[in-house]
């Protein structure tokens, strides 16, 4: 769609935006403070958003802090954002029952409820675009993912408060959001600049009847985003790392990481682009019915590489290597770009604080092996 001029939404008008998002029976999902973290939940009131909340993130550490800012998006991210809304952490694919005439298979998922989500960052939109390529771009598509994506309306927010673990500027996926949204917000103390990224986003903006922002407001958004870029201290090396990483399959650094890595799978659970899932049969007690359930899986699990009862990746060195070589090298072949969008969650939520950017740097320092 053609570039539309942004408009200004005063802070006390935020509820009107949420009300518009909730029209037509849509469920509105947004960030809320829960259990010491920011999680995405169903909301109805602007007051539920995390006003005056900042996140302090370091390797292995996530803490929320509070001050007097009126802003409600003055943080970088929580452990999850949009991924669970399109790629369900657990879902029943089909049911089967058995009688004298055989097995009767029946599809279970109904039409998904429409969802409008607010507070999605550039890193997560870039990861969503990769998941769309994975689940919808090849020969066999995932119909559940497709139905949920079609029913999702996205209000993204530029990220003016990157965490210490963020490196989206080096992957080119943030801190400003540039694509894959219906509406994008830039937050100022007094309100929000809104711009549309889709026809339905433009229609919603038009329905709010807003005026253009001042030149000073424009400038402040620009300045804050420039500051958010320069505030990022971590980075991935520029360019395509595919060959450099695949050439180091036997590098000694993999064993060094394995001495720290617990293979807990936290990094894959919080990664917005990781797409692995496992299939499980869950029979009823009498054995007459069964459900086929799909749940998120991790390449750090022992079972992930099972072949005839043995794990192909039977030590942590091989599992960490699988994760990193896939994310930063294999994705180039599969999807035309790296699978990392710089959100930094794998660094924050690693219980021993393994830092992907440091491990890549250490790996590339050595000669191919």
């Amino acid at each position: 769609m053609s570039e539309q001029r942004p408009v200004f939404l005063p802070r006390d008008g935020l509820q009107r935006l949420l009300d518009a998002m909730r029209q037509d029976g849509r469920r509105c999902v947004g960030p809320v403070e829960r259990d010491g973290a920011l999680t995405f939940e169903t909301i109805t009131k602007a007051g539920q958003l995390p006003t005056g909340v900042h996140d302090r993130q370091m390797p292995g550490t996530y803490q929320l802090e509070h001050d007097e800012t009126p802003r409600c998006f003055a943080w970088a991210n929580g452990p999850q954002a949009v991924k669970p809304l399109t790629f369900a952490p657990q879902e029943t694919l089909w049911r089967v029952s058995r009688d004298d005439r055989g097995l009767h298979f029946e599809a279970t998922p109904g039409e998904p409820q429409s969802v409008a989500v607010i507070g999605i960052r550039g890193c997560d939109l870039a990861a969503l675009a990769l998941q769309e390529q994975h689940f919808l771009g090849a020969e066999h598509i995932d119909p559940q993912f497709g139905a949920r994506r079609d029913a999702l309306f996205i209000v993204a927010v530029d990220c003016a408060y990157p965490a210490d673990t963020c490196f989206c500027a080096s992957t080119g996926d943030g801190p400003a959001v540039s694509r894959g949204f219906d509406i994008a917000l830039s937050e100022l103390d007094e309100g929000f600049l809104l711009r549309a990224g889709s026809v339905s986003g433009q229609a919603m903006i038009d329905s709010l009847g807003l005026e253009p922002p001042s030149k000073a407001q424009h400038q402040q958004v620009e300045d804050e985003l420039a500051q958010a870029v320069s505030a990022q201290t971590r980075q991935l090396p520029a360019g395509n790392l595919r060959d450099a990483i695949f050439e180091r399959q036997e590098h000694p650094h993999w064993a060094e990481v394995a001495e720290r890595c617990l293979a807990c799978g936290n990094c894959t659970a919080v990664c917005p682009s990781c797409f692995c899932s496992a299939y499980e049969a869950r029979p009823s007690l009498d054995g007459e019915q069964s459900e086929q359930v799909r749940i998120w899986d991790s390449c750090f699990s022992f079972e992930h590489s099972n072949l005839h009862g043995h794990a192909l990746r039977d030590d942590i060195r091989l599992r960490y290597r699988q994760w990193m070589t896939h994310k930063l090298a294999g994705w180039h072949d599969q999807f035309g770009r790296s699978g990392c969008t710089g959100c930094g969650r794998c660094i924050t939520w690693c219980p021993v604080g393994i830092d992907l950017t440091e491990e890549v740097a250490a790996l590339l320092e050595g000669e191919p092996a």
Binding site: V96, G102, L103, F105, P143, A281, H308, G309, L312, D333
Partner: protein, 278 residues
């Protein structure tokens, strides 16, 4: 809406054949004409077999695509699902999703000599190809079949090998680490068989199936005999769960074995082939 590639159709067991102590063949048929009509596959492709309440396993299709109204799966009872499948009897039902993946390059192989190398018990996918070739014998050049097993008892389908050996312009050589008293078996492994047969690389295609270590050394033997990597094809096994290229378990480097394979042209997988952990 859910697609057939995600949800099984039921198929009936019309025959069950015990091939060896732990290997059996299920002959299956779709009860409805619609399922039967849409069933088109190529040798080397596989189905997901669902055992009610237990789970699914990927199994290659061993029968010929022109065998109307039924299809065969030869299975070794090793895990939870395959042991359960081994208990099925005529008239029982399984769920089927498929066929999936890329099969053998049979159109490309027409007019050429074929070298078919198989080891261990992973011979079902190449039995499909051998049957396919002999039903259309005039389309192919010289056929060399090399098979190795650990123990002479593992060599199922002995009668078929004898039958193939009697075909014109065909070489069959069998090896067993432990040949027992069977004088027709070479005592050794399949790679050593290369020393005992005459293989010409010009205008030939090789198809390999079995343990990766066997395929690795067979690839080396074939490259040493002048084969180009683009004329070598290998059939891979990995932990395939969704079979749609979505669940991620079967990846070898950037390749999804279920979708890009299970049969690969060797040069396309060489970067990760026989590398522990991929």
């Amino acid at each position: 809406m859910i697609l057939h590639s995600h949800m099984p159709k039921q198929a009936r067991v019309v025959e069950r054949i015990q091939e060896s102590q732990d290997i059996f063949t299920l002959r299956l048929q779709y009860p409805d004409a619609e399922g039967d009509r849409q069933y088109v596959f190529a040798p080397g492709q596989f189905n997901m077999l669902y055992l009610h309440g237990v789970g699914e396993v990927p199994i290659s299709i061993v029968s010929d695509p022109q065998d109307d109204h039924y299809f065969d799966h030869t299975v070794r009872a090793v895990g939870r699902v395959t042991k359960g499948l081994s208990l099925l009897r005529k008239g029982d039902f399984v769920g089927i999703r498929g066929p999936f993946g890329q099969g053998w390059p049979l159109a490309q192989a027409e007019g050429k000599d074929l070298v078919i190398v198989t080891g261990g018990l992973g011979c079902a996918p190449v039995v499909a190809v051998i049957n396919y070739v002999f039903r259309r014998r005039e389309r192919f050049g010289h056929v060399t079949i090399l098979q190795g097993v650990k123990h002479h008892d593992d060599l199922i389908w002995r009668d078929r090998y004898a039958q193939w050996a009697g075909q014109p312009d065909t070489t069959v050589a069998l090896a067993a680490d432990n040949p027992g008293h069977d004088k027709t078996l070479f005592a050794g492994n399949v790679v050593q068989l290369f020393e005992r047969v005459d293989i010409r690389a010009d205008n030939a295609i090789a198809m390999l199936c079995g343990p990766e270590v066997m395929m690795h050394f067979s690839v080396e033997a074939l490259l040493a005999r002048g084969f180009e990597a683009i004329n070598l094809w290998v059939s891979m096994e990995r932990n395939m769960q969704c079979a749609n290229g979505l669940c991620g378990h079967c990846q070898v480097g950037p390749l999804f074995v279920c979708r890009d394979g299970p049969v690969f042209r060797y040069d396309r997988i060489a970067e990760w082939f026989f590398r522990k952990g991929f």
